[in-house]
């Protein structure tokens, strides 16, 4: 039983990390162009440098 005391919070925390990551990705517009993002990853001359 004592194992539960830290296993359950651990499980919940890991889940929460996933949820936060998902919401962050959603808010930063990463689901807006699923088709294009795939192409950008393999594009050679994509400019990843931050804008000056």
């Amino acid at each position: 039983m004592t194992a539960l005391a830290w296993l359950i919070p651990c499980a919940l925390a890991l889940g929460a990390v996933g949820l936060v990551a998902f919401i962050w990705a959603l808010n930063s517009g990463q689901f807006q162009d699923l088709e294009g993002s795939g192409w950008r990853a393999i594009s050679d001359d994509e400019d990843d440098k931050p804008q000056p």
């Binding site: 889940g15 807006q32 162009d33 294009g36 192409w39 001359d45």
Partner: protein, 742 residues
């Protein structure tokens, strides 16, 4: 138009539009780009836009076929961005911003709620599985209660947040004194949560948090998919609307020319239209003589000669010579206004369509509530006490929660839309599929729909290589459809065509060029007669060299290669097939014969087409209209469902439920097949859901449903209907017969 203006001008510094160094002003604009297909297009568009001085940022959204451009309005004009893309080979236009962003925001909101519900469902299930497993082994009651409390802590806030869309919609429906799908859903979810909390406090095993949160999760998936289809359909419609607005070269009083977007045109403005360009306004020619291709408006394939003072309509193509058109007042007498009026009237009739899921909900929701009430009353009469009676009644509500209706139909629609998209059919109306499925009669337009809308040389066999090559050497410098057909025939024969020198094009007559052997002419009979003397016989186009007998060229508006096949397939499946055209009788008769259509009508005006549709409708038929011309637009809006090729007039594409690409008519058949199959699949899914209800509802009413059974039944039925829907993606479909439905 939604232009975000970011004014970053420092305090006290006056903004100077002439100074290129002050780049603090930036405007962001969305451009629709029609022919963008892959990553390579995406990179070249971004590079092309960024190369324009004054553009600070350009980002393409490939899924939406749009580019977002940030630029300095003092240095760059919108039209020059569009022109630059045009030079790079992309057809672009300023996007019409309507309520689309609101739809996208709603989809994002649903996705966020879906994420929260998914997180909660996974964790609650983890705890529930432990409790179920514990019941079979040695888990003590204290641990089970602890797990229930943990479930409550996770599930309750998650439900309170995630299930809001259902609660809100149910409240609205109740306020309006009607029942929709969300009433039983909200009742089921909220009662299950409240009761589970009460049972947790009492320490019993009747805790349904898992079922409640899983239900929310699955139903949100359905809601999200539905919203996505809507966003896609709206986006497709808006892109078409944006592309409608082309640029126009306006001549000012002092003779200077400037480019403006077609939407900014005012009556009285003078517009220069180059040869080959689409005329952007209804107007009168004030300077120049030309041939105009009005096939999109009249359905007539042959160009008409228009002289100075003649009227031209927006959407027609200027073929031979540059002209200046004065825009006429857009009063109610213009053709476009008349068509728009007919369309509006027609669309009102269609607005009353009720979707399948809503029709099912009207019967399902009362049935569920009656069952729940019956269970409660039944157990009360049997003397079980209100607490136990309520527990059983709530179990019935949870079990009957309409998952299949709320999840299965959207899942089917998403698979169907993406399958159609793969075949080049863009669905524009969210309920278009359902209406397509109910169709039992197909009405085709002729020009551009059954036929390709461009003439093809039909007597090429009678013309020798030398004559054809010589005619083609004249034809190569003209945009007239006949000239193109001659050139195509020459190229098909592998002839080496060189442009003749000094070709003169006379609108309404033909082409001429001087050569060593005398003047050569290609054109109408009277035009060629001038040099060669008319030979006996008929011909649409003649070629003549001074002193020789002229040669006749005949043309056909070729029927699409698979038209006869598609019509045969439709007839075999029992569809009624009609051909209704605005063209001349003999042409329509020939095309009808070639395509195998027995019932046809020729010389029908736009309002006449609506009359034909009304007559069919009043005889109890549901009509699919397939058409492309401006004259078809009202009919497309009036029909039960409508399809239009991507070569169609912009207004027709806007009116149609779906737009198909390519040179073949096959997509019409595929659309019908997929629509019918998806409707069948939705009904299959209802059957699956009902079958599972038939087993579990009596159990629930009898009080034998445990939380384990409720959660399992819920998840399994949802997964079953989704998997069933996914079959549509790869299934081989056959057009089943519509006989017996009429």
């Amino acid at each position: 138009m939604d232009r975000a203006l970011k004014l970053g001008v420092a305090d006290g510094v006056a903004f100077d539009a002439d100074s290129p160094r002050l780049e603090e002003r930036a405007e962001t604009l969305s451009l629709v780009i029609e022919n963008m297909h892959c990553g390579a297009c995406m990179t070249s568009i971004e590079r092309c836009l960024k190369a324009i001085p004054g553009v600070s940022e350009a980002r393409v959204n490939l899924s939406a076929r749009r580019a977002s451009v940030t630029f300095d309005p003092a240095r760059v004009e919108v039209q020059s961005l569009i022109d630059a893309l045009g030079r790079a080979g992309f057809r672009a236009a300023e996007a019409v911003e309507a309520s689309g962003d609101q739809d996208v925001a709603r989809a994002d909101d649903l996705l966020r709620r879906l994420g929260v519900a998914g997180f909660a469902a996974a964790n609650v299930m983890l705890l529930s599985v432990s409790v179920w497993a514990g019941q079979a082994s040695d888990m003590d009651k204290a641990a089970a209660t602890l797990f229930h409390w943990l479930s409550a802590l996770i599930a309750m806030p998650a439900i309170a947040y995630s299930a809001q869309p259902f609660f809100r919609s149910a409240l609205e429906a109740l306020k309006g004194r009607r029942l929709n799908m969300d009433v039983p859903i909200s009742l089921g979810i909220s009662l299950a949560t409240v009761m589970s909390l009460y049972q947790t406090m009492r320490g019993t095993s009747h805790v349904y948090f898992d079922a409640a949160i899983m239900l929310t999760f699955f139903l949100l998936i359905g809601r999200y998919l539905d919203q996505r289809v809507r966003v896609r359909a709206r986006g497709a419609a808006e892109n078409l609307l944006g592309l409608k607005a082309l640029g126009a070269l306006v001549l000012d009083e002092d003779g200077t020319a400037r480019r403006v977007s077609a939407r900014a045109l005012q009556p009285g403005m003078k517009v220069q239209v180059a040869a080959g360009e689409r005329i952007p306004v209804d107007g009168r020619i004030v300077d120049g003589v030309t041939d105009v291709d009005a096939s999109l408006i009249t359905g007539e394939t042959l160009p008409q000669a228009v002289a100075s003072g003649g009227t031209v309509h927006a959407g027609t193509v200027n073929l031979t010579r540059p002209v200046v058109v004065e825009a006429t007042a857009t009063d109610d007498s213009t053709l476009l206004a008349e068509i728009a009026r007919l369309m509006q009237a027609a669309e009102q009739g269609r607005g009353q369509y009720v979707r399948l899921a809503d029709r099912a909900a009207r019967q399902y929701a009362p049935a569920v509530h009656v069952l729940g009430a019956a269970t409660f009353i039944g157990w009360m009469i049997a003397g079980a006490g209100w607490e136990l009676s309520l527990t059983h009644a709530i179990a019935v509500l949870i079990i009957t929660c309409p998952c299949a209706l709320a999840l299965a139909v959207p899942a089917v629609q998403v698979t169907a839309t993406s399958r159609l998209f793969g075949k080049g059919v863009v669905l524009k109306a969210a309920d278009g599929l359902e209406r397509l499925a109910e169709v039992d009669t197909v009405v085709f337009d002729k020009t551009g729909t059954l036929t390709r809308g461009a003439p093809v040389l039909s007597n090429a066999r009678d013309i020798d290589d030398t004559t054809l090559a010589e005619a083609a050497s004249l034809a190569i410098s003209s945009r007239h459809p006949y000239s193109r057909a001659v050139l195509m025939a020459a190229e098909a024969r592998g002839l080496d065509v060189r442009p003749a020198e000094g070709v003169i094009e006379v609108p309404g007559s033909g082409l001429s060029a001087a050569s060593a052997s005398g003047e050569r002419r290609l054109g109408s009979a009277s035009w060629v007669e001038g040099v060669a003397g008319l030979h006996s016989g008929t011909g649409s186009l003649w070629y003549g060299v001074a002193g020789q007998a002229p040669v006749a060229f005949h043309f056909d508006d070729a029927v699409r290669s698979d038209a006869a096949d598609v019509v045969a397939n439709l007839l075999r499946a029992g569809y009624g097939v009609y051909l209704v055209s605005g063209d001349r009788e003999e042409t329509v008769r020939r095309v009808a014969h070639e395509a195998g259509i027995e019932t046809w009508q020729a010389a029908v005006r736009p309002d006449g087409k609506i009359a034909v549709l009304d007559a069919l409708k009043s005889s109890g038929r549901k009509v699919l209209m397939v058409g492309d011309g401006l004259n078809d637009a009202p009919a497309l809006a009036a029909a039960h469902a409508s399809l239009s090729p991507s070569s169609a007039a912009d207004i027709s594409q806007t009116a149609a439920d779906a737009v198909f690409q390519g040179d073949e008519l096959g997509p019409v058949l595929e659309s019908l097949r997929v629509a019918r199959a998806s409707q069948g699949m939705a009904i299959e899914n209802f059957a699956i859901a009902l079958a599972y209800n038939a087993v579990s509802v009596p159990m629930a009413m009898a009080g034998h449903v445990t939380p384990l059974i409720a959660a399992l039944a819920m998840s399994l039925s949802s997964i079953a209907v989704t998997l069933n829907a996914l079959r549509l993606k790869t299934a081989r479909l056959r057009l089943s017969s519509v006989r017996g439905r009429r």
